[in-house]
Each structure stands twice: as C-alpha cells, then as structure tokens.
C-alpha cells in the first residue's frame, strides 16, 4: 500500500478536520482512505471539487474505480450535487443528504459510510457558507454519534483564513494535517450508547475540539431526560470541557450521570461546583 498513514486510524464515527496543503499528499491519503473503506465493506463517498480528477487519481493509486462505481461501493459528487444541492449551503438539507445516505447504505448491507468532503467550495463566495462552523459542530451528534459514518473534511490551508480555519477545527473532534496523522488518542470520540441511554466519550477534550464537545453535550437530553455519559476513556479533559458537562446538568433539561471519572476530572467537576448541581451524579 502506498501513501502516508495520515488517515489510517480514522474509524466509523470519527469526524476529522484535515488541513492539507499539498496536492500529492492529499491524493495519496485519500486513495489510502478509500481503499481501506472498500476493503472494510464501507460505502465510500467523495463530495467536492473535480470528482473526475479525484477518480483519476484513485485509479493511478490502484483503486479499481470502474467496478467500485459500478457496484455502488464508491460515488463521487461535485459540491454542487452535495453540499450546495439547493444552490446555496443549507445545513439542514445537507444533514438530510447524510441521513438518506445512511438509510440507503444500511439497507444495502454496508457496514458503514466513509465520506471525504472536499471543503474548497466554502472558500468561495457561496450563500450560506457562514453557517459552516455551526454545521460542522452539529453534525457530530446529528450524523457521527451513531458510529456509522466516518467523515474527513479536507480544508486546503492555502485557501482559508487561518483564524477561520481555527474555528472550524474546534468544531471537529479530531484533526489531521499534511504531516500530522489523525491520532485517536489525542482526539475526542463521542459515541451514542443506548443501554443505558447516553454517550461514551473517550480520548482528550481540549481547546482543539471544544465546540464539537459543546454541540454534542448541548443535545444530550434531546431524546431522553436521563442520560449516562461514560467518560472512563477520557484520558484528558481541560477546565472548559468539565465546565460544559457541569453546565448541561445545571441547565435543568435532564439528569446526567457521569461514570468512570478520572481523578483530574473529579477535581475539575468539583472546581466548577458539580456537588451543588442536583441533576448531576458523578462517579469515579
């Protein structure tokens, strides 16, 4: 297998902000990500600029695109046929595209979906693009928390303002770069759990994924008033992450039980006054 292992550790449920500024590295990593998806019986989607060029690149990197396209295992769409299908960027309509894709892939027996989203369209003057960072944060719970979709959002560092890119980065639970592989250990993973109802959060929660955590936690009680969040896999949480957890319990929207809290998280929860929040139960 050729190419850099930038995206090798991305699994279903991950949502990665990939800031890449080298076209050759980009193509190699995409090919590697696509090949792994086809191997794992995932449906693979590319959405963005120049799908024909990307398909050509995949062929050069040894992907049998003709049979994958023919079997429905692979699809490549322009931004205009995906993110901008209504003529502008409509976050709700885009989420609907993903939900439809999930339903179809499940019905067809796929184990999951891998999406490479080329976000270059957002660097152009597109109506609705101002909703992009909130969309990126919200799809964490709307699309990814079920653990059926893996998404890599490719942002070309040369085309985006660094400060804007930083805000987009915060909306993703994970990150990768041209030379920095996606590392699940230092990223956040948030997966829905149905018994007991809630989430499993693992990895590291810090400034780099704060908005992603906020967005998911904000919707904790949407479907159930009693929620358990298993944080035993959370290796690191910063002061802001702990605050997000205390605040949602204090909001009155439901009862939150945190299980598997590490000593540092216990300290931070206490620091934020967790013991005074009646709707919050904290367990080591």
């Amino acid at each position: 297998m050729s190419g850099l292992p930038l995206l090798d550790r991305v699994t279903l449920g991950d949502h990665v902000c990939w800031t890449v500024d080298d076209d050759a590295i980009r193509m190699q990593a995409i090919a590697r990500f696509v090949r792994a998806g086809l191997r794992d019986r995932h449906r693979v989607l590319y959405c963005g600029d120049d799908p024909e060029t990307v398909l050509e690149g995949l062929r050069r990197h040894g992907v049998d695109t003709r049979s994958a396209l023919g079997a429905g295992d692979l699809d490549a769409l322009t931004a205009e046929d995906s993110y901008l299908a209504g003529g502008s960027f409509d976050p709700a309509a885009t989420v609907e595209i993903w939900h439809t894709a999930v339903t179809a892939a499940r019905a067809a027996g796929y184990r999951g979906i891998r999406v490479v989203g080329d976000m270059t369209w957002a660097s152009r003057r597109v109506p609705g693009a101002e909703h992009l960072s909130s969309y990126e944060a919200n799809i964490n719970h709307l699309v990814f928390a079920d653990g059926f979709v893996a998404g890599v959002c490719a942002y070309d560092r040369r085309r985006f303002d660094p400060l804007y890119l930083r805000r987009l980065l915060w909306a993703h639970p994970g990150a990768a770069g041209s030379e920095m592989p996606f590392d699940p250990d230092s990223s956040l993973r948030m997966r829905r759990v149905r018994q007991p109802w809630g989430l499993r959060i693992s990895g590291e929660a810090d400034l780099s994924n704060r908005d992603a955590l906020c967005a998911v936690v904000k919707h904790l009680f949407d479907e159930h008033p009693d929620v358990t969040v298993d944080v035993s896999g959370l290796r690191f949480a910063d002061i802001a992450a702990a605050r997000v957890l205390v605040d949602v319990a204090a909001s009155g929207a439901g009862r939150l039980r945190l299980t598997g809290c590490a000593p540092n998280l216990l300290r931070l929860l206490d620091f934020h006054g967790a013991s005074a929040v009646e709707a919050l139960t904290v367990e080591a």
Binding site: S186, S208, D238, A240
Partner: protein
C-alpha cells in the same frame, strides 16, 4: 475590613496578640480561621485548648503554600461558608524560610487582601516574625497593612499605600530558567498535545499519580491561555530543583487584571478560570507581566 500586621519578637508577643484576637471572635459568635505555619499553629492551638467555641485551623505551609491560592482557596471560601457573618482570620503567609522566588508572590498577596476585602465584613491579623524575617520583609509588612501592631502598640502605617500599586511593585522579573531546562515552543492549538506530552515525560520523572496529572493539567491551561489570549507564540520550560518540579510559560500576553487567578469570575461567565485552577493546583505561581510579555512560573513540590 480591618487588616493588621503583627510584628512579634517572641512566643509571648505572638500569643499575647493572637489569643485575645481569636477570643474576641469567639465571644462575638463569629467564625474565625487560624492559618499559620505548623509550629505557630500548635502554639496557638495549645493556648486556646481550654476555650469553648469553635475555631477553625489550617496549616499555612500546606493550604497557603502557594500565596496565590490563599485568597480564593482559603479566605473567600471561608467567607462564603459563613454568609452574613463577620469573618476573622489569623494568617501568616510570610514565614521565615520562604524562598526568594516565593517571596514576591507572598507580598503581592498581602497587598491584594486589602483590595479583595475592601467593604467586606472581615478582620485580619497577620503575624510577622520580626526576629527572623529580613528588614525588607518587615518594611513590606508596613506597606501592605494599614495598621501595624509592634511591641503591643497599634499604629497606623505611614507607608501603607494603594494596594494595587504596591502589589505591582512585586511584579518583578523571574530568574531565568536553568540551562538544563527542557524547552518547547508552541503556537497553535494542536501543539497543546505536545505541551502535555512534554510535561508528562519530564514531570513523570519526579511526580506520580494524581500529582502528575495535575501538573499536566496546570501546564496545559497556561499554554491554552497563550493560544486563547495572545496572537504570538509561547514557550514552556520545565526542570527539576531539589524538592520540586518547575514549569514556566512565557508568552507575549499582558495580564492587566491584578486579581487574575485570585478572585473567581462571575458564575455566569463561561471562562476565565484557568489561572484560578493553576493557583489551586500548584505550590507556587509567580507571575511577571507587562506590555512586553508574561512569564508564569509554577512549582509542584515532589
């Protein structure tokens, strides 16, 4: 608020002022907290042993080891536990044996007590060991207390001045980190992982368990502040000294609030608690800040 410095020259002088102070508090039915270094804590506790009424005690060398923690972690907390009451404190944050790196943080703390408790119903007695402390430390006590008690006589301090200005006089450069320090430059959010890894590796040589995790958290919050509040890069240096692990963060920011890290922000404000947490965790937090940049040094005892 009253904030009095007590210059004591011997045990008798120490007890002759502190015992009546505590008894007055108890007689008034007010809460009183005695925070002293161990030997003085024992002396006063023994002297009060036969008394009725409740007195709270804390070892200042533990709870007040970091002077930046005394206001939020000890004084404000105690006051909050006794709403509507006058709170009385006997506090000795400056004891013989404080190092030259620690001392400016102690003096700044004494000055800022005046600011934080202005208009509050609180009364402080701060013993200073006049027989062992340096003359400049005694002079600083006169500068940070509006009233001093010396040889049993209560006098208004002629050198007491604006507390924030006085605290600013202790905003002085830190000695440079040693050449043996391990240094890492950081600038972007993803670099925070490298900062944590560095501290885990280096502090892991001398700290274990919860203390190690706390040091990582403190260093992370300092570096995250650089990234959140400044546009420039930051540098973290870590090293060990006998009995402690040291971590210094330098950046281009300027902390303009003299009470940063000492007073909790309004509960509704979502952020601004990083320094408060670092003060809570660390055994020393020294800050040198100005328009040209900020250095924050933290110690964790090993």
């Amino acid at each position: 608020m009253t904030h009095r410095g007590l210059l004591y020259h011997d045990v008798a002088g120490f007890l002759s002022a502190t015992v009546p102070f505590v008894r007055s508090a108890v007689e008034n039915g007010d809460p009183v907290l005695v925070a002293l270094p161990g030997h003085n804590l024992d002396l006063l506790r023994d002297a009060l042993a036969g008394d009725r009424g409740r007195v709270d005690f804390a070892d200042m060398t533990v709870t007040g080891r970091n002077p930046g923690r005394i206001i939020p972690g000890l004084l404000l907390r105690y006051a909050a536990e006794h709403p509507g009451k006058r709170v009385w404190f006997v506090g000795e944050p400056v004891w013989p044996g404080r190092s030259s790196v620690e001392y400016p943080a102690c003096a700044a703390h004494e000055a800022l007590v005046n600011t934080v408790f202005e208009g509050r119903d609180a009364t402080f007695l701060c013993p200073y060991d006049a027989s062992l402390l340096t003359s400049s430390a005694i002079a600083d006590a006169w500068r940070t207390h509006p009233v001093m008690i010396d040889h049993g006589v209560r006098v208004p301090s002629p050198s007491f001045g604006d507390p924030v200005t006085t605290a600013g006089d202790f905003n002085i450069p830190l000695p440079p980190p040693p050449a043996s320090a391990t240094v890492l430059d950081y600038r972007r959010v993803p670099d925070l992982v490298r900062v944590r890894d560095l501290v885990r590796r280096q502090a892991g040589l001398v700290l274990t368990g919860d203390r190690l995790e706390e040091m990582i958290l403190a260093a992370h919050e300092l570096a995250a502040n650089t990234i959140k509040h400044t546009t420039g890069p930051g540098r973290i240096a870590v090293w060990t000294e006998p009995g402690l692990f040291a971590c210094q963060v330098d950046d281009t920011g300027h902390i303009t609030d003299p009470l940063a890290g000492r007073v909790p922000p309004h509960p509704m404000l979502p952020s601004g608690r990083g320094l408060l947490l670092v003060n809570q965790i660390c055994d020393l937090v020294r800050i040198h800040t100005g328009p040209s940049g900020t250095s924050i040094r933290t110690h964790l005892l090993t």
